[in-house]
């Protein structure tokens, strides 16, 4: 075991049936997929060693992720081509490997440096676009958008960084960027509810994660 493990950042898409697999289950799924690769994986020290992995951010159930990220560590140098080949063979078909990068061990964790997420929301086909446009405009004009989360009230307005509405046939598209820090995490399903839409009727895709530059 070296003191300088190889830190690898994987970008992946979570699609299809796997949208319905929650965050904790996904973590376990990755652990097993990584074990199937037979790569020299890094484990945590201690009595009950665990595979060392770090997922950037939980993706809510039902959402597609197009560019999710995760770090894992290897105890030995292995070429990224080799890692990529083995991972492709061991991931379930609906978890698609997109990119691998070697990351400096000194860099902060994914979770710690995540700032925001970008979403594309495909709206139901039978919506009256005019009404929706008005609702969107009205929302954007308001000073505050309070939503209830368990026992506290959160101002969604603070969490929305950008929002654009694209009219199109048959389904219109809403693009939104929201804060995604541990303290302030925007949830597109809450936004949809404010617009009077059932998130189950919309298809939400997280298209991008934005991290702080360091």
């Amino acid at each position: 075991m070296t003191d300088q493990p190889l830190r690898i950042r994987m970008t992946y898409a979570k699609l299809g049936n796997l949208r319905f697999v929650g965050h904790l289950d996904l973590q376990r799924l990755f652990e097993r997929a990584l074990r199937r690769t037979n790569l020299p994986l890094r484990y945590t020290q201690g009595f009950n060693p665990h595979l060392r992995i770090n997922l950037a951010s939980a993706l809510p159930l039902g959402f597609i992720g197009e560019a999710e990220q995760m770090d894992f560590w290897l105890d030995q140098e292995v070429s990224l081509d080799e890692v990529s080949n083995r991972l492709r063979a061991s991931l379930p078909v609906e978890l698609v490997l997109q990119e691998l990068q070697v990351i400096d061990n000194q860099q902060p964790s994914l979770q710690g440096s995540l700032l925001s997420s970008e979403y594309e929301i495909l709206l139901p086909a039978d919506l009256d676009i005019q009404t929706l446009q008005e609702k969107v405009d009205k929302l954007l004009a308001l000073d505050a958008l309070p939503v209830q989360r368990r026992k506290k009230t959160v101002d969604l307005k603070n969490l929305i960084l950008q929002m654009e509405f694209f009219k199109s046939e048959p389904q219109s598209l809403l693009k939104v960027a929201m804060k995604s820090t541990p303290e302030e995490n925007g949830r597109p399903d809450e936004l949809l509810e404010l617009l009077g839409l059932d998130p189950a009727d919309c298809q939400v895709t997280r298209t991008k994660l934005n991290f702080s530059e360091e």
């Binding site: 319905f20 697999v21 159930l61």
Partner: protein, 620 residues
């Protein structure tokens, strides 16, 4: 063929708990092209995914059937209440996980029935699939409904609903059944002809081809086939040698009850405990070799990525090469960061040694021993003799070798049990706790886990009645009182919770109406909770006009025709009667590897016994 509307399903899945249960897409699931396949089989385990998916029987059949290029086997489970409500509201039929085809579009539905509390769920599954519940109401356009599993050694209570039962081990007969089905279909057989054809396959029981005659008092006069081509007795199937173990197991995407690589190292048991259904119906003993087991672990870990391995059998310490196995498992896997569990160990210091061989591969937690009865007299009655010195020595070894928690399994309600025998459980618990505390101090925990005995079909105890609720309650009260302020932890089942299993496991064909009525009245998931469904079942019995006590509390005459007498496990009734007699005399039998007691297995299956000494059958 049409799949269900998956867009609609996706919307619904937003509103249910743990939707990952319902979508498939796991690593190692097998997807085939529906239209290119001749025969479509849906394997259904009628409990929720979390419980059904880890079932090894399901995995074995999924593997065997999907190896055939012209057969596809998919999976379905019972949806939890929330999804069921949504499916009914939106009129979506129950569907397979892989290709999302409605169950009604499959050629064959294979139901797993390992225990009786799944019967109402099985009806619920058929109903959610839009398939007629009664076999008599199905037509050529409906799938063939087959069932197998340990509960099917008494198939009668489910006879109204199942077209054909597979009795015994399914590895060979399932494929024979499917091939016969294909031929009969091709030759244009109607449903009756199809079922008659299937009934000629050894190990296949087609209940509609038998009629049952009852006496005035409700006992059975006869169970007879309706035509001479149908066998009067259906003998279970066995495989002469355990077939290759599946390794490319489906790896669940959501957490399940036994989330691990389960490997069957041995089938059958030679101990002859008289209460044990599994010990009779799974004879003879067949082992896998150490080399094979090591290879299955190797291949299984590579194919699944699991971190836990379970080496399963009815009595693992009895595997002839078990010590070598544990040594080599340690040698080969100790640097792989896996845990290896070895449950079902005999009470002997040797079992502790086996666990020691595994060293840091063994998972944390306590050590479990199952004396089942605590007094020498009762131990002799059930043929599980246990020398007290051996017991205490084993217990001492467990504590000395690092364990701080010891769990002891006992039963109450055994034949011939008195309050002194119940007191003996308490005494044993206290002695074990004292030994533990003396060796390891107050950190030691001793846990008494007490189950209610049910006399099961095909065992030497099949004629006995179940203890009444009052009797069981009195015994439990003694245990509760006796463990108070002792430091012993007690867990138990409330007496009534055993009744449903007793009725259904010991029942006859007339119970079909009761099961149907109970399901109509809302019974399902009968294994869940503390028998909340019991009032429903009592109402169903009352409406149908059957007395539940007739099934649970009646001592059966030794010459009575039992509802399962036409199902032959290979063990003869003559042997069971003799063993019952021995039990009454307090006579024990040795492990039958040392001496053959002529149970009948060799008469029934001796011809299948491999001549090669490489394959071990326990029989001498």
């Amino acid at each position: 063929m049409q799949t269900i509307d998956t867009k609609q399903l996706e919307k619904i899945l937003y509103h249910v708990e743990k939707p990952g249960r319902y979508v498939g897409g796991e690593h190692n699931q097998i997807l085939k092209d529906w239209d290119a396949i001749r025969t479509h089989v849906c394997l259904v385990f009628p409990d929720i995914y979390d419980i059904g998916q880890p079932n090894l029987g399901l995995a074995i059949l999924y593997d065997i059937l999907n190896r055939q290029p012209d057969i596809m086997a998919e999976r379905a489970f019972t949806p939890w209440h929330d999804l069921e409500a949504q499916l009914r509201e939106h009129q979506i039929p129950l569907f397979s996980l892989e290709t999302k085809h409605p169950l009604a579009q499959f050629d064959i539905i294979g139901l797993s029935l390992p225990y009786e509390s799944l019967y109402t769920n099985a009806l619920n599954v058929l109903d959610l699939a839009g398939i007629p519940l009664l076999a008599s109401e199905r037509t050529n356009n409906d799938p063939l409904i087959i069932a197998g599993g340990q509960a099917c050694f008494n198939p009668e209570p489910m006879a109204d609903f199942i077209d054909a039962f597979v009795v015994g081990e399914g590895e060979e007969v399932t494929l024979e059944l499917i091939r016969a089905f294909e031929e009969l279909k091709q030759s244009g057989s109607d449903r009756k002809g199809l079922l008659q054809g299937l009934s000629r396959i050894p190990g296949v029981y087609v209940p509609s081809l038998y009629s049952v005659h009852y006496a005035q008092d409700g006992t059975i006069i006869s169970i007879l086939p309706s035509d001479p081509s149908v066998p009067a007795i259906v003998t279970k199937r066995i495989v002469s040698k355990l077939p290759p173990h599946p390794t490319r197991l489906v790896v669940p995407n959501v957490e399940t009850v036994h989330d691990r690589l389960s490997i069957e190292i041995m089938r059958g048991c030679t101990r002859g405990c008289r209460f044990c259904h599994a010990g009779v119906v799974n004879r003879p003993v067949r082992e896998r070799t150490v080399e094979e087991i090591l290879q299955v672990i190797e291949d299984g870990l590579a194919a699944t990525g699991y971190e836990d391995v379970g080496l399963l059998s009815l009595s693992s310490s009895d595997h002839t090469q078990i010590l070598e196995l544990t040594r080599l498992v340690y040698e080969k896997f100790h640097d792989r960061k896996v845990f290896v569990s070895l449950p079902s160990l005999r009470i002997a210091s040797f079992s502790v040694e086996l666990m020691d061989e595994l060293r840091d591969l063994r998972p944390g937690g306590g050590f479990t021993l199952a004396p089942e009865a605590a007094s020498p007299r009762l131990q002799a009655i059930i043929n599980k003799p246990l020398d007290n010195e051996v017991f205490e020595e084993t217990v001492r070894t467990v504590f000395e070798h690092g364990w701080l928690t010891l769990k002891l399994y006992y039963m109450i309600g055994l034949p011939g049990e008195t309050m002194e025998d119940v007191q003996a459980i308490l005494d044993a618990g206290k002695r074990v706790l004292a030994i533990g505390r003396q060796l390891r101090g107050n950190r030691v925990k001793v846990h008494l886990s007490v189950g209610n005995f049910i006399p099961k079909p095909h065992t030497p105890f099949q004629w006995y009645p179940l203890n009444s609720t009052d009797e069981l309650q009195t015994k439990l009260d003694m245990l509760k009182e006796g463990t108070r302020r002792t430091g012993l932890k007690l867990s138990y089942n409330i007496p009534d919770s055993t009744l449903l299993e007793a009725w259904l496991s010991r029942g006859d064909r007339r119970l079909g109406q009761v099961i149907l009525r109970a399901w109509q009245l809302g019974a399902k998931f009968d294994a869940w909770g503390e028998n909340e469904n019991q009032p429903i079942w009592r109402q169903a019995f009352a409406e149908i006009g059957l007395d539940p006590d007739f099934y649970a509390y009646r001592e059966r005459a030794l010459d009575e025709t039992l509802p399962w007498d036409h199902i032959h496990t290979g063990v003869t009734k003559v042997f069971l009667l003799r063993d019952l007699e021995w039990s009454k005399q307090g006579k024990t039998r040795k492990d039958c590897r040392e001496q053959c007691f002529a149970c009948g297995i060799l008469d029934s299956f001796g011809k299948l016994r491999p001549v090669s000494p490489l394959v071990y059958w326990g029989c001498p």
